[in-house]
Symmetry: C2
Subunit: 207 residues, 2 copies
DNA sequence: CGGTTTATAATCCGGCTGGTCGGTTTTTTA
DNA sequence: TAAAAAACCGACCAGCCGGATTATAAACCG
C-alpha cells in the first residue's frame, strides 16, 4: 500500500535514469552505489529498497537505456517513405544529434558490450537489443520485397549484415574522430549499404 | 647492472603476458594487481618494481596485446597473392582459429574499447591500433590501383570503410553467436566488401 | 488519533584494493 | 670476499565499496 500507487515506478525510473547518467559519465567500472544514490537524490538505503543488488540495478539500467535509444532511432525513420529510406534512415540521426547525447550513448554501449563479452546475462541482453534493430530493418526489407523493389531472399541475413556494417562505422567514427569525420561516416554507410543491396534489387529498378 | 642484461625485458613481458591473460579471462574491471602477480609468478612488490601503477601496466598490456594480434593477422595474408585476396584475407583467420584464442581476443578488445570511450589515453591507443589495420588495407588498395585493378581514388577512405565493416561483422558474430554463424560472417564480409569495392574497380575487370 | 506499514536516511562493518616500504635474497663489482 | 646494487618479497595501511542493520519520518487506516 504505497502512499502514491505509482511511486514505485517513479522511484525506479528516477534511480535508473540516475544510474544511466552516472554510468555514461564515469564508465560502469567506476560507478558506486553512493554515486547513483546522490544523483537520484536518494540514499544508498533508498536504492536498496528498490533494487536487490548493484548487478540487478545495472542490468535494469542497460535495459532501460536501450529502450530510450530505440525511441530516438524510431523517430529517425518516422518520415521515411520507402524501404530504402527506412534502411538508410535508421540510425542516421545519431550522426547529426547533439554531441553530448551521442557521446553518452556510445560510452554506455561500449560498457555494455564489454560486459556482454564477459557475462552471459549481458550477452543475452545484447542479443535482444541487436535483434530489435535487425527486426526493424528486416521489416523494411520485407516491405521492399513485397513492393517488388527487392528480389525475394533471406531478409534476416541481409538485415543483420546491414546492421553490422552500421555498427562498425559508428564505432570508428566515435572512437577515432580525428580520422573519421561525419562526412566519412555518412558516405561510407550510404555507399556500403547501397552497394551491398544492389544484387538484391529487382532487375526493373536495377542501377 | 642487472644480473642478466635482458632480465628487465623478460620480466616485463612476463608481467604483461600475465596481465593480458588475466584481463582476457576476468575483464579489466575485475583484475587486481595480486591476480596478475600470481599469474606472473611474482609478488605485488615485484610488479611495482617494473610498473609504476596499475594504469601504467594496463596501457602497456593493451599495447603489447595488439602487437601480438597484429602478427596473427599478418600471418593470414602472407600467402595472399593479389590486392583483393589481401583485403579479404586480412582478418579472415579469426573466423577459423580455435575458439579460445578468438574469444580471448574479443574480450580484451571490448574492454579496450570501453576504456577508450571514457579515457583519452586509451582512445589514442585505439586510434593507433585502428590505423595500423587501415594502413595495411590501404597498401593493398594502392597496390591494386598501381596494378590497374582499381581506379585511382582516395584509398584511405575505402580502407577505413572496409576495416569498419569488418569490425562490425566481427562484433555481431562474437557477441551473438546464436544468430550469427561463421558462415554468415564470412559471407557477409565477402559480399559487403566486394560490393562496396565494385564502383572502384577498373572498367576492364568490371563484371 | 494511535498503530501499522511503507519509505527513506544514517550509520556501520567486513572485505578488498592499490600502493608503500622495510627487509631479504641474489647478482655484480672491485 | 666484501660491499654495493639490483631484484624481489610480503606485510601493512589507508581508503573505499557494497550491503546490512538500525533509526526516523511519512502515509495510511480503522
Amino acid at each position: 500500500m504505497p502512499p502514491i500507487p505509482e511511486l514505485e515506478a517513479i522511484r525506479r525510473n528516477q534511480i535508473l535514469n540516475a544510474a544511466i547518467k552516472i554510468i555514461g559519465t564515469s564508465g560502469y567500472a567506476n560507478v558506486t552505489m553512493a554515486d547513483i544514490a546522490r544523483e537520484a537524490g536518494l540514499s544508498k538505503g533508498g536504492l536498496a529498497h528498490y533494487f536487490a543488488s548493484k548487478d540487478d540495478l545495472f542490468k535494469e539500467a542497460f535495459k532501460a537505456y536501450y529502450d530510450q535509444i530505440l525511441q530516438i532511432f524510431l523517430e529517425g525513420i518516422k518520415t521515411a517513405v520507402g524501404p530504402m529510406e527506412k534502411i538508410l534512415g535508421l540510425g542516421m540521426p545519431l550522426f547529426i544529434r547533439e554531441t553530448e547525447d551521442v557521446s553518452f550513448a556510445h560510452k554506455i554501449v561500449y560498457d555494455f558490450m564489454s560486459l556482454a563479452a564477459h557475462n552471459q546475462d549481458y550477452r543475452t541482453l545484447f542479443s535482444t537489443w541487436i535483434n530489435t534493430w535487425v527486426e526493424i530493418k528486416k521489416q523494411a526489407i520485407d516491405e521492399g520485397i513485397t513492393l517488388g523493389l527487392f528480389i525475394p531472399h533471406d531478409s534476416d541475413t541481409t538485415a543483420r549484415t546491414i546492421s553490422a556494417i552500421f555498427h562498425g562505422i559508428y564505432m570508428r567514427w566515435y572512437l577515432d574522430p580525428d580520422h573519421h569525420t561525419v562526412k566519412w561516416a555518412e558516405q561510407s554507410f550510404t555507399e556500403a549499404i547501397t552497394s551491398y543491396l544492389k544484387p538484391y534489387l529487382a532487375k526493373k529498378v536495377y542501377n
